[in-house]
């Protein structure tokens, strides 16, 4: 169990009056914090945009740029909007205090500030900030930046919406036998390197990985953030994945290890995208025929002996620079009629 009390933080004190600034800074330093100060809102914002702070202690009545303006600017700044702000002021009128809180201030302390109260409020604020940072860090690790952004702007709610996007499934051919033939540590190491390479290629082309299963990856191009050319982006990502695996194989061969081969299936069209699961555990995913088709195409790469297979909708969205080879209508599991499929030349970039 970690300790709840938050450690010292890096704080910024903003007050136009030198006596107030010195006094507050002194009190905070005595409490073990590292403190910087600014004499008005403009200087404070400059500092905030240059250095990282854990907490802002803000006076309201200031020339040049007052506290209300600072709060407004912070609320509109993606980098700074989560910075906790404690207003330290002797503003007259409860409506001014209400306005501070409405503008996003976390707390209000009237001047002269009582050191004991100051300590308690700052401890709470820093602790909250730490938890928020931890949450964001977790989000960064488990969700994609796009999903994180989507969650931050529109909030979390289970349920999906119809989107136009491209879905890609990829996996390592013969991975099970490969995994059985080497020590588990080596398999984990292989997977980590492989994931890193694949993630780079996918996110580099605007895609997000929505699912990781063993050696298999599902990724989406065009959701939650729409992409104009989602089909082509997915195909270009696939080509880069193949190229990266080729480079990786040069290394593996040199180290006396067996090369790996991958298969990729891509389909484009309408699908439902959103958060599924429960309120306790949820994931961003896409569902629909297009998704099933992409999965089938990936499986079919083994039969077709091709690295990248795409559907008609994806092909028709491609520019002429990408060479594709029609493989004709192919019966796929779960499909009543045969599906036109195309192989993308992995070398054409």
């Amino acid at each position: 169990m970690r300790e709840l009390r938050s450690g010292p933080g890096r704080l910024l004190v903003v007050d136009d009056n030198k006596v107030n600034r010195l006094l507050l800074t002194r009190n905070l330093e005595l409490q073990g914090h590292s403190v910087a100060s600014a004499e008005n809102g403009r200087v404070a914002l400059e500092l905030l945009r240059r250095e990282a702070f854990d907490l802002l202690l803000l006076d309201m009545e200031m020339p040049e740029m007052d506290g209300f303006q600072v709060l407004e600017q912070l609320a509109g700044d993606r980098q700074l909007r989560d910075l906790p702000v404690i207003v330290t002021s002797s503003l007259e009128g409860v409506e001014n205090v209400v306005r501070c809180i409405e503008l996003g201030a976390e707390d209000y302390l009237s001047k002269p500030v009582n050191p004991g109260l100051l300590k308690a409020r700052i401890g709470t604020s820093l602790e909250k900030k730490r938890l928020r940072d931890q949450q964001k860090e977790l989000m960064r690790r488990f969700a994609t930046p796009e999903v994180e952004q989507d969650l931050q702007t529109s909030g979390f709610s289970l349920g999906g919406k119809l989107v136009h996007a491209a879905v890609m499934f990829s996996d390592i051919r013969g991975f099970t036998s490969l995994a059985e033939s080497q020590p588990p540590e080596e398999t984990i190491e292989l997977l980590n390197t492989y994931y890193e390479l694949m993630f780079d290629a996918i996110s580099g082309h605007g895609g997000i990985v929505t699912l990781m299963m063993g050696d298999g990856l599902m990724s989406v191009f065009g959701a939650p953030v729409p992409l104009v050319d989602h089909g082509e982006s997915a195909v270009r990502a696939a080509q880069e994945m193949v190229e990266l695996v080729d480079l990786f194989n040069v290394e593996r061969t040199a180290a006396g290890k067996a090369p790996i081969r991958i298969g990729i299936g891509i389909a484009s069209g309408e699908m439902v995208a959103g958060y599924t699961g429960t309120n306790k555990r949820a994931t961003y995913t896409c569902i629909g025929d297009t998704v099933n088709l992409a999965a089938r195409l990936e499986t079919h790469t083994k039969v077709a002996q091709r690295v990248i297979l795409i559907d008609e909708a994806t092909r028709s969205s491609l520019s002429e620079r990408i060479a594709v080879e029609p493989l004709g209508p192919v019966p796929l599991k779960g499909k009543a009629v045969a599906v036109e499929i195309f192989a993308v030349d992995p070398g054409q970039r």
């Binding site: 009056n17 030198k18 006596v19 107030n20 006094l23 002194r26 009545e61 001047k111 002269p112």
Partner: protein, 115 residues
């Protein structure tokens, strides 16, 4: 005025929590800055700048209360709250009274400083 210029309990608490040496520095800062604030207050009155008048009175109020200059703080607060009418009246008397109380506070703080 019979009330002491500086409330001893407030001043001692300040000394206790922030350190005697620091309080000296803080007193010096206040004694240096306050005369200019009083000047600015007169200037704002003459220029009929109610917002500036209110802001300066506000700062004087908060500084005064910090040192336990409770009478000065209360007078500054009165000016802050009635800034609009004070400025439209343009009467310098309340500011003179404030300056007079400040002299008393400055003398008391200087005495405490050397105590």
């Amino acid at each position: 005025m019979s009330a002491p210029a500086i409330d001893a309990a407030t001043f001692n608490a300040l000394k206790e929590t922030t350190g005697a040496e620091f309080v000296l520095e803080l007193v010096d800062t206040f004694l240096q800055e306050a005369p200019a604030m009083l000047e600015d207050l007169r200037g704002a009155l003459a220029a009929k700048d109610a917002d500036k008048f209110r802001r300066i009175a506000h700062t004087l109020k908060s500084n005064s209360n910090t040192f336990g200059a409770l009478t000065l703080g209360a007078m500054a607060r009165e000016l802050e709250l009635s800034s609009a009418s004070k400025v439209s009246e343009g009467d310098a008397k309340p500011v003179d009274a404030l300056a007079g109380e400040f002299s008393r506070v400055a003398a008391a703080l200087t005495a405490l400083r050397h105590a």
